[in-house]
């Protein structure tokens, strides 16, 4: 038996090899090449010169600032909105609430750019909001013209990513014991206090995990910004696309991609750590 164990372990390692090798070929090796290319200057030598060149560009710095600001804003918005909506679905239930949960699942399956497309019909130069305004006031054009600004991207991202916050929260809220709520209420706690003192501490790990995931997805979002079609709203993923496909500057695109990847992967690693620690250590570590 003692001699069988190492052989079995070898067999297990062998079984794990094919999928890992496949992943290495189509994902890890290409990523490594992107990093390598980002250090390759035009004369074929390898240096940090491409980084210096890209970092000096105002377009890059604007894109970085845009990306981070929009991502943080959209995450904050999605957290607040998702929390409020999930609280109502879970604790002030109404008939049809379960169908609503299913609707949210369907919403998650749709691509993000559909939201931007829909917003064009809602708040675009033609569209419901401006149509309402012009019909009511007789003016030639309506007041809503924010879709091509960062605010339009922000609205689309909050809309698209709120369900991503709601789903883990609804699962967490389902774990909260109604007895606790009844006890708190009968002891005289007002609904606001019950939410703050009883429900939210219980749901904090899910809230943190959902927020971190949404932040990473916002940093990586491309479709919403592309469909907005605004020249002055450029984020890192859009800059990668512009440099590689429209300008043919692969080294520059690789530099931007490496910065974007570093940002997102670092955040994602942090999220995994927090998620693992909260799973092991309970509620308190989620706050750290």
């Amino acid at each position: 038996m003692a001699s069988a164990a190492p052989a079995a372990r070898r067999a297990h390692t062998l079984w794990a090899l094919p999928p890992v090798a496949a992943l290495a070929l189509v994902f890890l090796y290409p990523l490594a090449l992107v990093v390598w290319q980002s250090f390759t200057s035009e004369d074929g030598g390898h240096s940090t010169a491409p980084y210096a060149a890209v970092l000096a560009q105002a377009s890059f710095r604007d894109a970085l600032a845009n990306t981070v600001l929009i991502a943080v804003g959209a995450t904050a918005g999605a957290l607040v909105l998702g929390c409020a909506l999930a609280l109502v679905i879970a604790f002030v239930p109404f008939p049809g609430g379960r169908a609503l949960g299913r609707f949210i699942d369907v919403f998650l399956a749709f691509p993000s750019f559909l939201i931007t497309l829909a917003l064009l019909f809602l708040y675009g130069t033609v569209g419901i909001a401006n149509g309402l305004w012009t019909q009511a006031t007789g003016a030639a054009s309506g007041p809503f013209d924010f879709l091509h600004t960062p605010w339009g991207v922000l609205l689309a991202e909050v809309t698209y990513f709120t369900p991503f916050v709601m789903r883990p929260l609804l699962a967490a809220f389902a774990q909260v014991e109604t007895g606790q709520l009844e006890a708190a209420s009968s002891l005289g706690a007002r609904p606001r206090q019950v939410v703050r003192k009883v429900i939210l501490p219980e749901a904090l790990p899910s809230l943190a995990a959902g927020g971190a995931l949404v932040l990473v997805m916002c940093l990586n979002e491309f479709g919403i910004v592309l469909f907005t079609g605004a020249k002055d709203v450029v984020t890192l993923p859009v800059l990668v696309y512009t440099k590689a496909i429209l300008d043919g500057d692969y080294t520059g695109a690789c530099v931007v991609a490496v910065v974007n990847i570093a940002l997102s992967v670092a955040l994602y690693a942090l999220y995994r750590c927090v998620a693992a620690r909260t799973a092991a250590g309970g509620v308190r570590s989620a706050r750290a």
């Binding site: 794990a16 890992v20 909105l81 399956a109 750019f113 491309f222 993923p237 974007n260 990847i261």
Partner: protein, 265 residues
């Protein structure tokens, strides 16, 4: 029940629907409404028409739909095989190695899809493997992006699986391959079908990586929607978007029917 007074409850519900309907229900409805219209300058769309859908049946939109369906099918099957294999194999590895393997398979979730597209473009435009400009590179990109989700849901299902089934089968003398085929995979079937549906839906809507790498003769539906709306044909774009949503929903519905049947067995 958190809010006890009837009036307060109605107030909460009113605020809820005042937020929920315009933000989440309205966008999807608006797209559907726009796909049947020729203009929209008032509150309601004008010029009811089926022309956009009739055009779809004639133009290259049908090709785009078929392209998307085939790509999603290929990517989901490949992702399901790779993700399930990796999850099953990782379960037997020592803990530390297992965490590394799981981490590697989750990594594509964190890496921007645009960067995945760029990396494939950089890697497969040069020898030893030349895939740039082929259909295969689109399928590879979609597979990379959705494998993480397949792996994640199969791993989660494996962790919930009662080891007693497997052990008793092995205790009765079943060989590992037989245990896998007759015990483990059937028990995993509900999560496998759920993962398949998710992978299919994600692949159907994938735009970011696809924009980087699609060849002219393999243009999936999301790229077609972008090309259409980008040249200003918003209403035709809306019709395409409805086709995309309907196709995704139909596949999800079919998968969930298989799933309920699998879980009753």
């Amino acid at each position: 029940m958190l809010v006890h007074s009837r009036r307060a409850r109605w107030a909460v519900w009113t605020v809820f629907f005042a937020l929920f309907l315009p933000l989440f229900a309205l966008p999807l409805l608006v797209i559907v409404a726009a796909s049947f219209a020729t203009g929209w300058s008032g509150v309601l769309p004008s010029g009811a028409t089926l022309a956009h859908y009739q055009d779809l049946a004639r133009g290259d939109s049908l090709d785009a739909l078929i392209t998307s369906l085939l790509t999603a099918l290929a990517a989901s099957v490949l992702a399901l095989v790779a993700g399930t294999w990796a999850a099953l194999a990782a379960e037997r590895l020592p803990r530390r190695v297992r965490r590394i393997v799981d981490g590697l398979f989750l990594l594509p979730v964190a890496v921007p899809s645009v960067a995945v597209g760029l990396s494939l473009l950089v890697a497969f435009s040069q020898p030893p493997v030349l895939l740039n400009g082929t259909r295969q590179i689109v399928i590879v990109a979609h597979t990379v992006l959705v494998t993480a989700f397949a792996h994640q849901s199969v791993s989660a299902a494996l962790a919930r699986l009662d080891p007693a089934y497997e052990q008793s089968a092995a205790g009765l003398g079943a060989r590992p391959g037989y245990v896998l085929r007759r015990v483990k995979l059937p028990l995993l079937l509900p999560s496998l079908t759920a993962a398949a549906g998710l992978c299919f839906a994600l692949s159907m809507g994938e735009l970011s990586a696809t924009m980087m790498i699609y060849p002219p003769d393999w243009m999936p539906l999301p790229v077609q929607i972008f090309a259409t709306t980008d040249r200003g044909a918003l209403f035709a774009g809306a019709a395409l978007a409805v086709v995309l949503m309907a196709a995704t929903l139909l596949v999800l519905l079919a998968v969930s029917r298989i799933r309920t049947r699998a879980s009753y067995r």
